[in-house]
């Protein structure tokens, strides 16, 4: 197994990861903590770096880590930090905040972590379905199906 030079990775990619975490979390201290979680995950899954660009993997892991932290924040009555998630929930929909909240429940309750990441990459970051598929290693149809599932959850709730 190839040794992983985490220090070299952090030198090259640390600023990018921190920017990602800053944007999603909006808190410097928590963004730094999230960065540590990101590189920890890389160490735990180090051979996944084979065959794909580290930037892509790190960006995706950072998104996952930050979404989990945002989920944890939701247990407290703090709404300022949920802006990103409401962007997802409202994307392309005429509905308002109530629908967004309902969709968030689905996002965090019934759908896998990877679906939430796909939603952020597509609805918040503006990646095309093809780009999301390339980033996540899934097929375009698979990504489309996941996003359709998320939207179907909302439709199911609001009728």
């Amino acid at each position: 197994m190839r040794d992983l030079d985490v220090d070299a990775l952090s030198r090259r990619y640390g600023p990018m990861v921190l920017r990602r975490c800053r944007r999603l979390l909006g808190d410097e201290e928590e963004a730094l903590d999230a960065c540590q979680d990101v590189f920890l995950r890389v160490i735990e899954r180090r051979t996944r770096l084979h065959g794909e660009y580290p930037s892509s993997l790190l960006y995706r892991i950072a998104t996952n880590v930050c979404l989990n932290r945002l989920r944890d924040r939701r247990r407290n009555p703090v709404t300022r930090d949920e802006t990103v998630l409401y962007e997802i929930a409202r994307a392309g929909e005429p509905g308002g905040l109530s629908e967004a909240r309902l969709l968030l429940e689905r996002l965090f309750g019934r759908h896998p972590e990877s679906s939430r990441t796909m939603a952020v990459l597509h609805y918040v970051d503006g990646l095309t379905l093809e780009e999301v598929a390339a980033e996540t290693g899934m097929s375009v149809s698979g990504v489309r199906k996941r996003l359709r599932g998320l939207r179907a959850s909302l439709t199911e709730i609001i009728g």
Partner: protein
């Protein structure tokens, strides 16, 4: 309408980790849109600011919070779990999955066949037709073409959703790799759709369009998951079903 380039694309461009074609596209857009150059300059300035403010080690092991000490948490990562993960992701894209003693069905002269593999704690397991799987299970689809040169794979879930797995996009059946069991590139995470999900491997000796097959699947999927698709002449199919168990 001009498309705004996502941050991720610009980050990867700066790191020289974009595929060449995408990098050329960024450069073409940059020639017409000075704002893209400004965003790249802002990323460079941000890099400098972060590197000045923090040593690289802050991202991995200089943070003081005890609960986040990297060394402790790495040590806590189970060797078996890591090995299992590596086994699964290391499966070559076009070679037979484990176990290596398994005979591969569907050799030339026989019938084409489908297989599903599920990630487990110790690697992966081949599922039997009709096996129970749960939402969140990570699956890979494989096929043996039995000499059929063209094919596609789609599935219908318990909600009637039709998903094309091979090819992942496009409107034609693809040339099949002959002989051995071939795994599709992308893994497939099982969702919450109820009851059953059936996979259909449609093959032919001549090239064929995907659309009539997908349309037939959509018509057949009205309220049910059919055992077989009503296919145009000249096409044959094999299927593979998994039973869905509710998330625990």
């Amino acid at each position: 309408m001009k498309r705004n380039i996502p941050d991720l694309v610009l980050e990867r461009y700066r790191l020289n980790e974009l595929p060449e074609r995408s990098a050329r596209a960024v450069e073409l857009m940059m020639a017409d849109d000075p704002a893209i150059r400004e965003r790249l300059d802002a990323l460079a300035a941000s890099d400098a600011e972060i590197q000045e403010q923090y040593p690289p080690s802050v991202f991995v092991h200089d943070r003081p919070a005890p609960s986040r000490r990297l060394a402790i948490r790495v040590a806590a990562a189970g060797g078996f779990a890591l090995a299992a993960l590596l086994l699964f992701v290391a499966l070559p894209r076009t070679s037979p999955p484990p176990p290596d003693t398994e005979r591969v069905k569907g050799t030339i002269g026989g019938r084409p066949s489908l297989a599903l593999y599920r990630r487990t704690d110790t690697g992966s397991e081949r599922l039997a037709d009709g096996a129970v799987a749960r939402p969140g299970d990570l699956l890979r689809v494989g096929y043996a073409s039995a000499g059929r040169p063209y094919g596609l794979i789609l599935s219908i879930d318990g909600r009637g959703a039709v998903t094309l797995h091979l090819p992942p996009s496009g409107d034609r059946a693809v040339p099949l790799t002959p002989g051995k069991m071939v795994l599709l590139d992308a893994a497939y995470e099982l969702d919450e759709a109820p009851r059953v999900e059936r996979f259909y491997f449609v093959t032919a000796r001549e090239p064929f369009a995907a659309e009539p097959v997908v349309s037939a699947a959509r018509r057949a999927a009205q309220g049910t998951v059919p055992d077989a698709l009503p296919l145009p002449p000249g096409l044959e199919q094999v299927t593979f079903a998994i039973q869905k168990e509710a998330r625990r």
